[in-house]
């Protein structure tokens, strides 16, 4: 390859630069390691599930997506069992089923508190046993309030008034205000240290697409947590997700992990 050529015209100053040659020089630098030169790239994908949850601290508030089993990040919840993290507060719509996912985490004595709207079902035996034994505390939050408190946290809203629970046991200890003739209660935002979310597809920017009613709490929890970890079926090339159809933009997401199987 010829070196860059400089022409100096007697009448005008003219400089011609051979870009191909410059490119060749950069190629040499890269492959001979003459400089630490590489293409910068956002890549939120994590190779293995242990790495995904490794730095979760004890005492964390963990937002866990899912409505029943649909959208529940079962593998991420179970991976937490292998870490040292304990004394966790779990925020989820339900309190676990059978012996897997959240129920397994509770059975492993990692959870000290559950914030949820509907802890009881035929299968929530593990939670009920711990609750009866006084090993776990429960804060019941109306389902819509749970969602809106997390939205407020993600949205930077300091709090809001809702008519839900006004005049009931769940609203009686709260600040009240009559607005347009209707009694409301004041609710504070609910922020998470961690969000564990189950979704369908992601790209390396962390853009997320969900499946059917498994979407549920995923989008709001992604917004409301400091560290958002998403378990997906596949990570596609950047640009493959239709921008019109991305449900959670990657700005809200920190780590994506492909679920095996």
């Amino acid at each position: 390859m010829s070196p860059p050529i400089l022409f100096i015209n007697r009448i005008d100053w003219l400089v011609v630069v051979d870009f191909a040659a410059i490119g060749y020089d950069l190629y040499l630098i890269d492959h001979l390691g003459l400089a630490s030169y590489s293409t910068p790239m956002i890549d939120k994908s994590v190779n293995n599930i242990s790495a995904a949850v490794a730095d979760i601290q004890s005492g964390s508030v963990v937002l866990s997506s899912g409505f029943g089993d649909a959208g529940a990040p079962v593998d991420l919840l179970e991976a937490l069992i292998e870490t040292d993290a304990e004394n966790l507060t779990i925020v989820s719509n339900n309190a676990g089923e059978g012996n897997y996912g959240l129920a397994a985490l509770i059975a492993a004595r990692k959870v000290s508190r559950v914030i949820c709207s509907y802890p009881i079902s035929a299968g929530s035996v593990v939670f009920q046993d711990c609750y009866q034994a006084g090993e776990i505390t429960l804060e019941v939050v109306p389902q819509g309030t749970l969602s809106e408190r997390m939205r407020a946290a993600g949205a930077g809203i300091g709090g809001f008034f809702t008519p839900t629970s006004a005049g009931t046991e769940l609203g009686k200890s709260k600040e009240c205000r009559k607005i347009s003739g209707v009694e409301h209660v004041f609710e504070y935002p609910l922020k998470g240290d961690i969000a564990l979310i189950r979704a369908t597809r992601a790209d390396r920017w962390g853009n997320i697409v969900y499946d059917k009613s498994a979407r549920n709490f995923g989008p709001v929890m992604a917004m409301a947590a400091t560290l958002t970890i998403v378990q997906v079926d596949e990570i596609v090339d950047l640009g493959k997700l239709n921008p019109e159809l991305i449900i959670t933009p990657g700005i809200f997401v920190d780590r994506v992990f492909v679920h095996n199987g």
Binding site: F67, G68, D69, A70, G71, N93, A95, C116, S117, Y118, P119, I120, S121, F127, Q128, Y131, L138, V140, V141, P142, Q143, G144, T145, S147, E148, M150, R151, T162, P163, T164, S165, A166, G167, T168, E169, L170, E183, Y210, D211, K212, S213, A214, R215, N216, F217, G218, P219, V220, I247
Partner: protein
């Protein structure tokens, strides 16, 4: 020889049928978990209704054929459903915008008790041995344009469920519009319970005996006699 008491009153499917007749075409309807889910089975075939599910579905259809269940497509009761053409999925927060923001036309809920001022008690009894849970009931109670309650007129031990004042913890205050029981269709008005329909074979006096609040018989009251469904 045991005496067999003939059960008077509608079956649950018949109450569900009656409620379905009350829903206008084009309504956006949320059905609470349990018995209210049956209402979807009796919507007249010439009427198009959009069913909403709190976990993020509009245009919810009936249960899929066995073997066709999709674990990611479930209703509020965690049972598999299908999606009708025109249906959509959305986040939980958006779902509760629809609920709390007054966009749902009718919500059908079960109940422990309903008071004559429309107070609703359907999320907890006085039994504190089990952990409490509320789900979306309180949001639905305050947000739906009309709350229909579907319930037995009395408990299994014969105690009234339509009350002067609820004794169980409230879900919402002054929220119920109409109560549909096995014995009657009763509206909540400024003057308390007004009876619109009474099941065939039941007298107004019997109905009043089974109710712990004053009942007024509507001037235009009718007999409730649904088909065998």
């Amino acid at each position: 020889m045991t005496a067999v008491l003939e059960k008077i009153g509608l079956t649950r499917p018949q109450v569900a049928w009656r409620i379905a007749q009350e829903i206008d075409e084009g309504s956006y309807v949320n059905l609470g978990i349990g018995s209210p889910e049956m209402v979807a089975n009796y919507v007249p075939t010439d009427r198009e209704i959009v069913f909403h599910s709190e976990n993020g579905i509009l245009g919810m259809g009936e249960a899929p054929a066995p073997g066709q269940e999709d674990g990611n497509l479930i209703n509020a009761g965690k049972k598999p459903v299908t999606l009708l053409p025109g249906g959509s999925y959305f986040s939980h927060t958006d779902s509760f915008v629809m609920i709390r923001g007054g966009h749902i036309d009718i919500c059908v809920l079960g109940a422990y008790q309903v008071a004559e001022n429309g107070d609703l008690a359907n999320w907890a009894t006085l039994d504190t041995s089990k952990p409490p849970g509320v789900g979306g009931a309180m949001d639905l109670a305050v947000g739906a344009k009309r709350i229909f309650v579907m319930m037995d007129h009395c408990t299994k031990t014969g105690k009234p469920k339509l009350m002067n004042k609820c004794t169980y913890p409230l879900t919402g205050s002054r929220v119920v519009r109409t109560v549909f029981t096995d014995l009657a269709v009763i509206d909540v008005t400024e003057d308390g319970f007004v009876v619109r329909e009474i099941t065939a074979g039941v007298s107004f006096e019997e109905l009043q005996e089974k109710t712990d609040a004053v009942l007024t018989l509507s001037e235009n009251w009718q007999t409730l006699a649904p088909p065998d469904v």
